[in-house]
Symmetry: C2
Subunit: 354 residues, 2 copies
């Protein structure tokens, strides 16, 4: 018995979630909810996905030659779970329809935390998602921060964390927003600290954010203060060796190098699903360490959405579920390749001994 | 008796220094040293400035219709002081010629500190420049950091300073470098901390740097840790009220807003010569404060170059010299206008009571 899943909204996150769902042996794609009769709808059909539209909009889709399977209301009725990938803020509106039909749903990090019973990060609280009707997968930056903070927290006593975020101005698909030659700043502190606390409650964290003219990845400069002991560079490698969704790299100097490697490795849409930990930016001073991470904003939450589905419907245990998600997305190979290319000493050593 | 000054190199800094020199009542421009026979040379002549070229290159200049007053070697002989504004690293080479002719010289921050007897920042060590034969005016970022650190140091006991620099990728005049859609990082820590220590010796400071695709201004996220007491927002306003080369502003959200205001105020090349302290980014947590500053990289060192000239040749006392430099460049008016436009409460109050 497969879980019947529909994806409501077909933007940056939605299109990637759909492709992961159809590859997953336990999931059955019912359809995609699409609101605008544009080329993205035709592209979804071209790829063979069933497209649904709001009842009132169906004539507009048909006029433009876009084949529609039915209304979004019908799609919801056929589904066990809806992954809501609509634009930030729209999820609240959609939730009423899911509730009316007594359906489970997964929302994205652009929604307020109150939308769901749980703010989810697979590394931090997979098991808490079991049997929850509504789950919110936290945003790309929060996901990256959780993947980095949690392992350090399990090994050392963190006094506090400070993060300076350099946010990309727009996604590659976005032709509406900027800036292209300006930097914006948030009145400090930014909302990201509070969002991390929806997943990791007992953490002291403050965040500041800049928007920079760049479309590929967010960057975050992190400072960790520890109560007493703090990790050396070698200990950082050891701790994050076990983290399958963190690529720990040494010899990269720019986001351009990371993106070019992803293209050369023929990764679909150069998605890597993982956060990069830049070890050549690491420095340690007594009980304080600093380093920078890079977050591929389009793809990092995709494995989290799949894990949330599996946990919510109690289909597998945590480790099996995560490993299957990673297999489908090719995450292990990506981590291994990136770490070799950019000189993680442990990955290079293990490949020599293999 | 005026001081005879020549400017060797006519790039981003050189062209601005020349225009400040010709406005100064105590300075006499001998000429500009130009190495490439390009449109910038013709522009200098169009503005009425005497242009000199290397002896061997003069025929190439004449061929292109560029009127040359003589060789750079002659220009140096006619001068009391040379302000070396050549590209970073070239100053060392030029210094031999200045020394051979027994001339005083001022170098820019791109040169190593060993080039000069003093690394100069007008706010920090004006009087130390008296009678020094060779002076190095520190770089734009170091100048900005010095203008912010020194006043805080005079009022509070600083434990340490941490700075995250977001550096502009290229100057507006630069059509050679990038990146345009990538972020570069420096292996931490960056060189800026060491450069600040050439001016302020007894400071604990560490710096990290990113290069971002942007041409207008550097930004720096600063964290100050104090030994005991630390300033409130109100105290920050009080301390920096007296700093004539720091604009303390509240209601700006992006560099685009600062630049557009500079253009609307009809500032030449939208130069403001000052560092912006963004008070809407200020936050305080016990003995720690954080905030962001914005550094107009092309113009901030211009007043410092003029002050260095005056101090070196012992022409005026510190306060008179700085005020005359500021009058020539219009700095007081610029600070006042920017603070009013972007809502500094003290500046608004004083204009109501005036």
């Amino acid at each position: 018995m497969k879980l019947n899943v529909s994806i409501n909204g077909y933007g940056t996150i939605g299109k990637r979630v759909v492709e992961a769902v159809v590859k997953h042996p336990f999931l059955n794609l019912i359809g995609i909810g699409k609101y605008t009769p544009d080329h993205e709808a035709l592209l979804a059909i071209e790829k063979g996905f069933p497209v649904f539209a709001p009842k009132n909009s169906i004539p507009k889709f048909l006029e433009r030659g876009i084949k529609i399977e039915g209304s979004i209301e019908e799609m919801i009725k056929f589904s066990d779970v809806i992954i809501d990938c609509s634009p930030a803020g729209k999820g609240i509106e959609n939730k009423r329809i899911y509730a009316l039909n007594n359906k489970k749903a997964i929302f994205q990090g652009g929604e307020p935390k109150e939308i769901a019973e749980l703010s989810f990060n697979s590394r931090c609280n997979f098991d808490a998602a079991r049997e929850k009707k509504y789950i919110r997968v936290v945003s790309c930056n929060t996901t990256a921060l959780c993947r980095i903070i949690k392992p350090l927290m399990e090994n050392y006593k963190i006094k506090n964390v400070e993060a300076v975020l350099l946010r990309r101005a727009a996604d590659p698909c976005d032709d509406k927003t900027g800036p292209i030659n300006a930097v914006k700043w948030s009145s400090s502190p930014s909302h990201h600290a509070e969002d991390v606390k929806t997943v990791i409650e007992n953490i002291q964290i403050s965040t500041s954010a800049f928007v920079i003219p760049h479309t590929l990845t967010h960057l975050t400069y992190l400072t960790f203060n520890f109560n007493n002991d703090s990790p050396t560079k070698e200990e950082m490698y050891e701790i994050f060796k076990k983290e399958r969704r963190v690529a720990v790299i040494e010899n990269a100097q720019s986001t351009a190098q990371l993106i070019e490697a992803s293209r050369d490795l023929e990764l679909k849409r150069y998605d890597t699903y993982m956060v990069y930990l830049l070890m050549n930016t690491f420095h340690k001073n007594e009980n304080k360490i600093s380093f920078t991470i890079v977050t591929p904003q389009e793809s990092i939450v995709i494995p989290e959405n799949i894990d949330a589905l599996i946990a919510q419907s109690n289909l597998m245990n945590k480790d099996e579920a995560q490993k299957l998600t990673e297999k489908i997305l090719g995450i292990d190979l990506i981590k291994n390749s990136m770490e070799k290319i950019f000189s993680n000493p442990l990955t290079i050593e293990s490949s020599i001994h293999a």
